[in-house]
C-alpha cells in the first residue's frame, strides 16, 4: 500500500491499531496533509449528499416484475433507438387486426388464422409456411416470408404476406401467435404488393418489436433447424 493509499484507508476508517496511529501522527504533523484530509472528507460528504435524495424515492409495488431481457434491450438500444412514438404506432397498428380478420379468419379447417384460447394463431397454410419456409423461397407461393428476428423477450418472430395482406407472428407456447395483421391496401391491389415493399404499418410494427438485427439467411436456417426456439 502506498503512503497515499494508506492515508485514504485511514481516512475511511479502514486502519486499526498501530497502522492507524502512525497515519494519524503523520497527518497531525503535516498541515498540508491535514488540509487534504479535510478536503477529502468534505468531498465524500458532498458526493454522498448529492445522491441522498435518491434514497427517498418510493420503492415500486412490484419489484422485478416486467419481463424485459436486459441483453436484448441493450442490443436494441445499441443498434437503433426506438422512440415512444413508434411504440404507440405499434399498439395502434395491432388494433388493425379487426379489419382483416373478416377475410383471413374464416371458419373451416383451411383457415390460415384461428382463434385459440382467445388469441389468434397461425394455422394451416400460414402455420406451415412460418414453420418451414425460408425468406428465400419463391414468392409465387401463397404465403411469402419476410423478416425473421427476435423480439425483446427473445421470442422468434417472422413477418409474412399473402394475397389478403401482411402480418407478424411470434412464437409463443409452441404456436405462431399473430402480433399484427394488415389488410391489403385496396387502392393498390393485387400483384403489385410485393414490388411496392411491405405495408408501412407492418414496417412500424416490426420496428417496434425487433430487438437487434433481422436474421440473415444463415441465421434464419439455423433458427428453423432449432425449431424456432
Amino acid at each position: 500500500m502506498s503512503d497515499e493509499e494508506e492515508f485514504f484507508a485511514w481516512l475511511d476508517g479502514e486502519l486499526r491499531g498501530d497502522a492507524a496511529a502512525r497515519v494519524e501522527a503523520r497527518v497531525a504533523a503535516d498541515p498540508a496533509l491535514a488540509a487534504q484530509a479535510r478536503a477529502h472528507r468534505a468531498l465524500a460528504g458532498r458526493l454522498r449528499g448529492a445522491f441522498d435524495p435518491v434514497l427517498a424515492a418510493p420503492v415500486p409495488d412490484r419489484v422485478g416484475a416486467p419481463p424485459v431481457d436486459f441483453a436484448v434491450v441493450r442490443d436494441r438500444r445499441a443498434s437503433r433507438p426506438v422512440s415512444r412514438m413508434t411504440r404507440w404506432a405499434a399498439i395502434a397498428a395491432t388494433l388493425a387486426l379487426g379489419i382483416v380478420t373478416g377475410t383471413m379468419l374464416a371458419t373451416g379447417s383451411s383457415s390460415p388464422i384461428v382463434r385459440e384460447n382467445g388469441v389468434l394463431v397461425a394455422a394451416a397454410s400460414l402455420e406451415d409456411a412460418l414453420d418451414t419456409r425460408l425468406a428465400s423461397a419463391p414468392a409465387s407461393d401463397d404465403v411469402r416470408i419476410g423478416l425473421t428476428f427476435r423480439d425483446a423477450d427473445g421470442q422468434l418472430c417472422r413477418s409474412f404476406e399473402n394475397r389478403d395482406g401482411s402480418g407478424l407472428a411470434c412464437r409463443a407456447d409452441g404456436d405462431w401467435q399473430i402480433r399484427g395483421l394488415f389488410k391489403q391496401d385496396e387502392a393498390s391491389p393485387g400483384d403489385y404488393r410485393m414490388a411496392s415493399g411491405p405495408d408501412p404499418r407492418l414496417a412500424e410494427l416490426i420496428d417496434a418489436t425487433i430487438a437487434g438485427e433481422p436474421f440473415d439467411a444463415e441465421a434464419e436456417r439455423a433458427a428453423k433447424e432449432g425449431g424456432w426456439r
Binding site: 500500500m1 502506498s2 497515499e4 493509499e5 485514504f8 484507508a9 475511511d12 479502514e14 488540509a35 487534504q36 479535510r38 478536503a39 477529502h40 468534505a42 468531498l43 465524500a44 458532498r46 458526493l47 454522498r48 449528499g49 448529492a50 445522491f51 435524495p53 435518491v54 434514497l55 427517498a56 424515492a57 420503492v59 415500486p60 419489484v63 422485478g64 416486467p66 419481463p67 424485459v68 431481457d69 436486459f70 441483453a71 434491450v73 441493450r74 442490443d75 445499441a78
Partner: protein, 170 residues
C-alpha cells in the same frame, strides 16, 4: 436457498441503494432505471443462487455491476469514455477549484462519468454507498490492493473536478 418471497423482500429493502448505485454508474436516469430493472429481474430469476442469511447487498451490487459492464461493452469503449465528458459540460459542470456549495445529483453524476469505469464502481461502493474495502473487493471480485489504488486515483480526480475547498487549490 432463499425463497421467492425472501428475495423480493430483500430486493425491496435494498431497492434505494440499488438505484443509487445505478445512478452513480450511469450517465442518465434512463440508463440507471434500465439497470435497476435488469438487475431486479436477474435477481428474481436467480433466486436459487442466493443463500438466505448471506449478504444480499454484495450479491445485488455484483449482479448490477456485471450487467453494467455488459452494457458498456455492447456500446463500445469509445462511446463510454468520451461521450460523458460532453454531458458533464452540458449540465453546467463547474470545474473551478474552490466551489464550496453542496453539489446536486446532475453535477455529481457528470463528475462520476468522467472517471474510468473501474474507478467509478469503486467510488460508488465505498464513498457513496459506504461499503468497506473488503466487502467492495468481494463484491467486485478484485484484490483489496486494486480497490485501494483505484479508490485513491478516483477520489483524487473527483476532488480536482469538484473543488478543493480545504486545500487552497494549486
Amino acid at each position: 436457498m432463499g425463497s421467492q418471497i425472501e428475495i423480493e423482500r430483500e430486493l425491496r429493502a435494498h431497492w434505494p441503494r440499488l438505484r443509487r448505485f445505478a445512478l452513480a454508474l450511469s450517465r442518465d436516469a434512463a440508463d440507471a432505471d434500465d439497470l435497476v430493472q435488469a438487475t431486479a429481474e436477474r435477481i428474481i430469476r436467480s433466486v436459487g443462487q442466493w443463500q438466505a442469511g448471506s449478504r444480499f447487498d454484495s450479491w445485488m451490487f455484483r449482479i448490477a455491476r456485471n450487467l453494467w459492464i455488459d452494457t458498456m461493452r455492447a456500446r463500445g469503449r469509445q462511446n463510454a469514455r468520451f461521450a460523458p465528458e460532453e454531458d458533464g459540460e452540458q449540465i453546467g459542470f463547474d470545474p473551478r477549484p474552490g466551489t464550496e456549495a453542496a453539489i446536486d445529483l446532475g453535477t455529481a453524476m457528470a463528475a462520476m462519468q468522467r472517471l474510468p469505469e473501474e474507478q467509478r464502481e469503486v467510488i460508488a461502493l465505498i464513498l457513496i454507498d459506504g461499503l468497506g474495502y473488503r466487502e467492495t473487493a468481494d463484491t467486485l471480485g478484485l484484490p483489496i490492493g486494486t480497490i485501494s489504488s483505484r479508490l485513491a486515483r478516483g477520489r483524487t480526480a473527483l476532488l480536482a473536478m469538484l473543488g478543493e475547498k480545504e486545500c487552497g487549490g494549486e
